[in-house]
């Protein structure tokens, strides 16, 4: 999608048309992504409506501190990404590269924290499957909850990994000076993607971590 090698691909009339097409393409892609996650959110909604107590019970086994930290990390990464887009618009190469690097770093921090959480779940036999064990009476709904926890955060983490990869490519190209005031569409549309992945987390965090909190 990113036409990085030559500024203008041959099927387009001008850079403006190309920018418009790329940007619309990303928006359409994000709509698809919303429907993709939407299927999971739908399953979550139905399952939680069927087992409200079990879901609350299971949710207490998630670490709100780690989850909250991750939320903060991601919000910061959205800020650095937005600043990177700004840097590309005003054509400041070093600033652009710097903020992209920061975004990558924050993305990696998120993934490391996520990995720590996953390891903890393995350790406590909270991974659905034959080894799953849950002391409270709501073992079955809890297993359902953790199935959805791994499906949803796993899919989100996959999007984060892809995002980090995309931003890494941007960083290399930005360092080589590929992006100018006239042509920086790839930075803009990758920014859209990054913010989207953030927003998904903003929904995941309360639905998974906070529903069990005592009122």
């Amino acid at each position: 999608m990113s036409q990085a090698h030559s500024a203008l691909a041959e099927q387009f009339r001008d850079l403006e048309q190309q920018r418009e097409a790329s940007s619309l393409g990303m928006w359409v892609f994000l709509v698809t992504e919303i429907m993709f996650f939407g299927g999971l959110f739908m399953v979550y909604t139905v399952a939680r409506a069927m087992h409200p107590a079990g879901f609350a019970q299971a949710s207490r086994h998630l670490d709100v501190t780690l989850g909250g930290t991750n939320t903060a990390v991601l919000i910061c990464s959205s800020l650095t990404m937005a600043l990177a887009v700004y840097a590309s618009q005003v054509g400041r190469r070093r600033m652009l590269a710097g903020f992209l690097a920061l975004t990558i770093a924050l993305g990696c921090v998120f993934l490391v924290i996520k990995a720590i959480e996953y390891a903890d779940k393995f350790h406590h036999h909270l991974v659905p499957g034959s080894a799953f064990s849950f002391a409270a009476p709501e073992a079955r709904p809890a297993e359902l909850f953790f199935s959805l926890y791994f499906a949803m955060t796993g899919l989100h983490a996959l999007h984060m990994i892809i995002g980090v990869g995309v931003v890494a490519v941007l960083l290399v190209k930005a360092w080589r000076g590929r992006y100018t005031i006239e042509y920086h569409t790839p930075v803009e549309i990758s920014g859209l993607y990054w913010h989207f992945v953030d927003i998904i987390w903003i929904f995941l965090f309360p639905l998974l971590y906070l529903i069990g909190l005592k009122r």
Partner: protein, 320 residues
């Protein structure tokens, strides 16, 4: 019911035939009348007509609303069995139908019913989704695991009719069927009387109730560790946390197999889980027994209507 379904079918068939013949005739007529007579001929420059467009949007809309209303009213009467229907319990499994009469007769892939009586089927599945389909009665309903679905019919003519499974359920789906035999009432009584039967369904449930030691806690006096079950079916039960549920078949089933899902207000989560310990048929026997425990004042077979049965279930608050 079959007559009403057929009436709707032939109405739709008539409308469809009329519309498709109209379109067919017009298309053929236009194709012949306006066939190309010279290779450089072009058609008349007509762009459209709001009047015509409105006409052929409004007329189909009105027609289809008639179809909708007719179909929906038929569906609603299919969904609501008459109150005095005889109730037969059906369990589907790969690949057979197991049916139990209230009098205790068990049948496999066969169902005997009398002419002229309403028959209500309460159905569940032991494994995958099946579907109980008797084309002659124009009835069909999916049979789902872990849930009860119901249909009803009233046979009007004696005879043997096909019973099919019509939801794909695996290898022998095509042979998961049998016969519904409709008999004259007298013959049916004779059939009911014949064959070895150890008491009615409710009696079987009662025996099971004692075997499983349910009566130790669920004393009819209401003073046990569990709530009394007298008059429970059809009543409104208050749960821990303040919600209420209607004690229907699905609620009873869940409370037997997985009692901790909904706990009656005033009682603890003490009852063991019976999932895997009792079969679907046995659950149905237990439900039949619980249904038979009508309170003295309530009209038999009409649970839930008497004010008596609406007493708050937590009244026998005994345990902390």
């Amino acid at each position: 019911m079959a007559d009403r379904v057929d009436a709707l079918f032939f109405f739709l068939l008539g409308v469809s035939l009329f519309i498709s013949l109209l379109i067919l005739v017009l298309i053929i007529a236009f194709c012949i009348k306006y066939r190309r007579r010279a290779p450089n001929e072009i058609g008349a420059p007509i762009g459209g007509s709001i009047k015509l467009e409105t006409f052929w949007m409004v007329v189909p809309l009105l027609l289809s609303m008639v179809m909708f209303g007719w179909g929906a009213s038929l569906y609603m009467s299919m969904q609501h069995p008459p109150p005095q229907a005889m109730e037969i319990y059906v369990v589907g499994k790969q690949w057979m139908w197991k049916l139990q009469h209230p009098e205790g007769q068990m049948e496999i892939n066969e169902l005997h019913v009398p002419v002229g009586r309403d028959v209500k089927l309460t159905m569940t599945s032991e494994d995958v989704i099946h579907d109980f389909f008797v084309p002659a009665f124009r009835i069909k309903a999916d049979v789902l695991p872990a849930r009860y679905t119901t249909i009803w019919f009233r046979p009007t003519k004696a005879g043997r009719y096909h019973l099919f499974c019509s939801q794909y359920c695996g290898t022998n789906h095509a042979v998961m069927g049998g016969w519904v035999t409709v008999m004259e009432p007298a013959e049916f009584e004779a059939w009911l009387a014949g064959g070895p039967v150890e008491g009615s369904l409710a009696e079987a449930g009662e025996r099971l109730f004692q075997q499983l030691a349910c009566n130790n806690c669920h004393a009819s006096s209401g003073k046990g560790r569990g709530p009394s079950l007298v008059g429970l079916h059809g009543s409104t039960v208050r749960l821990q946390g303040g919600q209420t549920v209607i004690a229907d078949d699905d609620y009873l089933r869940e409370s037997i197999l997985n009692p901790r899902a909904k706990i009656v207000a005033g009682y603890g989560p003490d009852m063991p889980v019976f999932q895997g310990l009792v079969s679907e048929e046995q659950v149905l026997q237990l439900i039949a027994y619980i249904k038979s425990l009508a309170p003295p004042q309530a009209a038999p077979g009409q649970p839930g209507t008497a004010a008596e049965s609406k007493r708050p279930a937590g009244e026998a608050k005994k345990l902390p």
